[in-house]
Symmetry: C2
Subunit: 421 residues, 2 copies
Amino acid sequence: MLSARTSATRLDLAALAALDAADPLAPLRGAFHLPDDVVYLDGNSLGALPKRAEQIASRVLRQEWGDGLVRSWNDAGWHRLPWRLGAKIARLVGAGEDEVIVTDSTSANLYKVLQAALSLRPGRRSIVSERENFPTDLYIAEGAARVRGERHRLRLVDSPAHIEGAIDEDCAVLLLTHVNYRDGNMLDMAALTERAHRKGALVAWDLSHSAGAVPVELVACEADFAVGCCYKYLNGGPVAPAFVFAARRLQERSEQPLSGWWGHATPFDFSPTFRAADGIARFLCGTPPVLSMAVAEAGIDLVLEATIPRLRAKSIQLTELFIELLAQECAGLGLEPVGPRDPQRRGSQVSVRHPGGYAIMRALIDRGVIGDYREPGILRFGFAPLYSRYIDAWNAVAVLKDVLQTRAWEQPHYRERHAVT
Amino acid sequence: MLSARTSATRLDLAALAALDAADPLAPLRGAFHLPDDVVYLDGNSLGALPKRAEQIASRVLRQEWGDGLVRSWNDAGWHRLPWRLGAKIARLVGAGEDEVIVTDSTSANLYKVLQAALSLRPGRRSIVSERENFPTDLYIAEGAARVRGERHRLRLVDSPAHIEGAIDEDCAVLLLTHVNYRDGNMLDMAALTERAHRKGALVAWDLSHSAGAVPVELVACEADFAVGCCYKYLNGGPVAPAFVFAARRLQERSEQPLSGWWGHATPFDFSPTFRAADGIARFLCGTPPVLSMAVAEAGIDLVLEATIPRLRAKSIQLTELFIELLAQECAGLGLEPVGPRDPQRRGSQVSVRHPGGYAIMRALIDRGVIGDYREPGILRFGFAPLYSRYIDAWNAVAVLKDVLQTRAWEQPHYRERHAVT
């Protein structure tokens, strides 16, 4: 259970408002359209709407699609979007600009890099991952192994502590999510990559909860492959296409079976035989989703403007204060902390557990405090330092305290499950 | 070479304008935003912008994303979009509403159905297709075979006449595009499906150039699988997600390796083990692309309003008149007809070949007549009966005649290749 806060200084709303007033990132909140009556702490699920995204959508629809029609592939640069956005994301994850491209979904991209890794390690038959990894990653790994025949398989370890021991001679690729979706635990990318390489395995990193939120240095960590989504901390919109990273040293040897025409060396020759494009382009598949990519650029640009070091500094301060506020205000109300206490090992979220977790989150959302719920019993509060305020932490804790103290969450309708939780 | 027209009645602009005046579909053109200075005959590559698509985008961005934020998954029905759009497309391709779902790209969906088909025919090792099929279909088939190991392969036949002979005991799945992208040739779906079934093979149909343009009766033809895009005759926008069809009788036995969480039976249980959803939902993969799906609905609705029989009747009249006009106006100017003369065997396009094809198309586009170019030497004119007019056929032929007679296309800059042709 959460223990009472012991620090000398009691936090109050005025102290948090003063932090907002001094926050160098505060003006960037104005670049987003956010409802006035909401405390939004679910940017780790779906980021907020950049105002410029509306302008871009309007331009792409009216001028580029409506007036330009098919000419816009060349005239409006539609065909360059996967590369242009990829180069921008590369700057956020410590990659070379020719190592990242935007295309398809995170799941589809993960399938590509797992198959590429399995092909690069033909004598090895296992994908190794964590049982607590985001489920779609595990499902995709199952599918990738199954299609190669019975001797390929996915092996799961029960906790991060067991990862290293599971990397054996049969492990072709280690599949890890850098920041865990449920408890915010952040893995040591450099150390785990080094250990996998020492055993001859490759590593594929899922950066969905990292990109735009925490420092990532793919090249410095000698990472092999990575994927990630654009609709969480990158604010790319519902549901922007995802990105894929392949280290330059592996690209020319990487074969992936979703070999659609946009990954062809010369797609407009219309040759009947596939020949993979040079470089990262071979991870493209079908025709790129122009509208959603164009819209996603607005959010990515705001992250670039804020810079990762400034975002990370604010994220740590926000999550630390939120944890302190929970201790100060909600001690004894049945919440149990989940995930790392050390901010250096935590992503940009705070999770707590309560047996009534689902109903509590429904009650919070009813009162304008939007976090989300994850099984089992976990309330998840994401801080997106581009637009989250220090006073949001205060207001969220105040509402949570009230919901717990008054037992408002016990109203039966809060237990009714929504289709999407 | 195109021979001169022999029919008694000479066609003129007034005759064509009269057809427009009497056209029951003419009012639907007003539902699109189209530039005044353009004759658009490339709806078979990218359909035109429905005005309602702009309203939808504005609503999804401002109200649903901006104000609703993550709540819109439930409150705005985002999570139902793949099914809702799938059910609408099902009505256009003769399928049951629980047999079609919208997700991912055509290429990714093709990969899924090919893998499902290979799994359903475990003793068979070949995918059979046509060398003249759209290249991405062949590239995906190559990838699908290669990932299963060396004994799997893609076999290509040189013409539609050789398809039947190639269906042998080793053929797991026949991969065919219903209407050929280059010459508009339409295959006999019922007959070829029946022949494949007789030999124990399954058939996967690509409907990218069919959906919204020609009658398709998947259930009546006993089709097994189909895929198609939403951005051509369905006017879904650049580049809307694609659809996938699996016959009800095969769904519960269909396994596909892009087994992302949205294809799980209970995705929000966050179980570490994949269990495929019942029915067509197992062909979903990652989180659905909400914005582009929502926008795509506008174009699909207009096709439903027009109805396929009315669209097909107008399409045949448009393409027949265009062919007649070419014969009347352009005989002796070096154009060679390509594809079927019989409208019952032709999709909603007309193709002609000329050694200067690429430059001629560039010159046409410069003069506001937008068709497109496909190797080798092929000028492709697509008629989208939702918004194409009879006078468009006249105006396009008039400009083409002028470009050929004056040899305007021989200007050197028309030979410079664009990135996207």
